[in-house]
Symmetry: C2
Subunit: 176 residues, 2 copies
DNA sequence: ACAACCATGTAAGTAGTTACATGATTTA
DNA sequence: TAAATCATGTAACTACTTACATGGTTGT
C-alpha cells in the first residue's frame, strides 16, 4: 500500500493535477514505483475522500484540470507511514523462473532474451548516469539533495548488477 | 503471469502435492517468486482444468494428499512461455519512496529501518553463500547445474547490493 | 478418544492492468 | 469547424493477500 504515499510525497513536493502526476511519475518516482494514470486518478479520489488532499476549483465537468494539494491530515499520514516498520519485499524475478525452466526443458530462446535485456539495462544505466552528472555534481550537497541522490544511486547499482549478471549468464548459455 | 509456469517447472523437476510445493517454494524458487499455499492450490486447480497437469488418485475428500504430474500439454506450454519475449519488470521499491518522503517531511525513523534491513540482508547473504558452498563446489559443473548456480548468484549479488547501498545511506542519514 | 497438526480449500478484499469512454482544448 | 490531443474517468478482469473452514492423520 504505497501508491497513496507516493502521491502524497509528490504533491508535497509540488501540488499538481492527475495528468501531471502521471508524467512526473514516468520520470522520477516511477523509476521505483510505476503507476498508470488510471491508478493515479482512482487513488487521488480516495485521498480526497480520506481528507488527505483537497482539489482546487474547477469542479466543473470532466476534461478540466484539477489541481490537488496535500492537507495537514495527509502530511500526518505520510509521517506515520514513513516511521512504520518495513520488511524488504521479496524479490520477484521472472527471469530466474525461466532459467530454472531452461534447466528442465531447455534449450530455449533464453540467450536472445538476455541479450536484449542487457541492452535495455545498458541504456537505462546510461540515462541514470546522465541524470546523475546533471543533477548531482560532486560537491558536498544539502541533506535533501543527498537523499535524492541516494535514490538514483540505487538505480545505478541495480542496472550495473543486471549487466554484470547478464554477462555471466551469457557465458554459461554460450556453452550450449 | 508466471506462477503457473513456476509450478510447471517445479512439478517437472519432481511431481508432488500442493503442500509440498508450498514448502519447496519457501526454499528455492520462492527466493525469486514467493507464493502462498492459497495461490498454489488455486493455480493447481487451474492447471488441471487446462489439461496441463493431472492429479493422481486420492480423489477422495479434502484432507488427502493429491500428487500432481505435468502432462505433455503442460510441458509444451512451458516451452512456449520460455521462448516468449520478456521486458525487465520495473523495479518496485518502497524504501525509495520513503527516502523521498524523508526529504520532504523528514526527519523520520528511516535510519533504524535501514539498519534493520541491512541485518536482514546480511543474514540472507550468509544463507545464500552457505547454500552456494554446499551445492556448487568450484569445479566445472554440468550445464544444468551452472544454470541453477546462476540463479543463486543473482541472489548473492542482490543482497550484496543492498548491503552496500545501506552503508552509503546510513552515512548520509547519520548527518542529520 | 481427544488434541494437535496437516492438507486442501473457500471467501472477501485490495492492488494493479487493460480497454474503452467522454468532455474540454488546441491546431490545421 | 473538423481532427487531434489532452484530462479525467468507468468497467471488467487478473493477481495477490488475509482470514477462516473442513476433512484427515498422528500422537498421547
Amino acid at each position: 500500500m504505497s501508491l497513496p504515499h507516493a502521491l502524497l510525497t509528490a504533491l508535497l513536493e509540488e501540488p499538481c493535477s492527475g495528468s501531471e502526476l502521471a508524467r512526473r511519475f514516468d520520470r522520477s518516482i516511477g523509476f521505483f514505483w510505476h503507476a498508470t494514470h488510471q491508478q493515479i486518478y482512482r487513488e487521488l479520489g480516495r485521498l480526497e475522500r480520506s481528507g488527505w488532499v483537497e482539489s482546487l476549483p474547477p469542479e466543473s465537468g470532466r476534461g478540466r484540470k484539477k489541481v490537488y494539494r496535500v492537507l495537514p491530515a495527509g502530511r500526518k499520514e505520510l509521517k506515520r507511514w514513513t516511521s512504520e516498520r518495513q520488511v524488504p519485499q521479496p524479490l520477484r524475478e521472472e527471469l530466474m523462473l525461466k532459467l530454472r525452466a531452461e534447466a528442465v526443458i531447455g534449450p530455449t530462446a533464453l540467450r536472445q532474451d538476455i541479450k536484449r535485456r542487457m541492452d535495455m539495462h545498458r541504456q537505462k544505466l546510461a540515462l541514470y548516469k546522465q541524470l546523475e552528472a546533471r543533477d548531482f555534481p560532486p560537491d558536498d550537497a544539502s541533506y535533501e539533495v543527498q537523499l535524492r541522490h541516494l535514490v538514483l544511486t540505487a538505480g545505478v547499482m541495480f542496472e550495473t548488477l543486471w549487466i554484470e549478471w547478464s554477462e555471466q549468464a551469457l557465458k554459461v548459455l554460450a556453452k550450449k
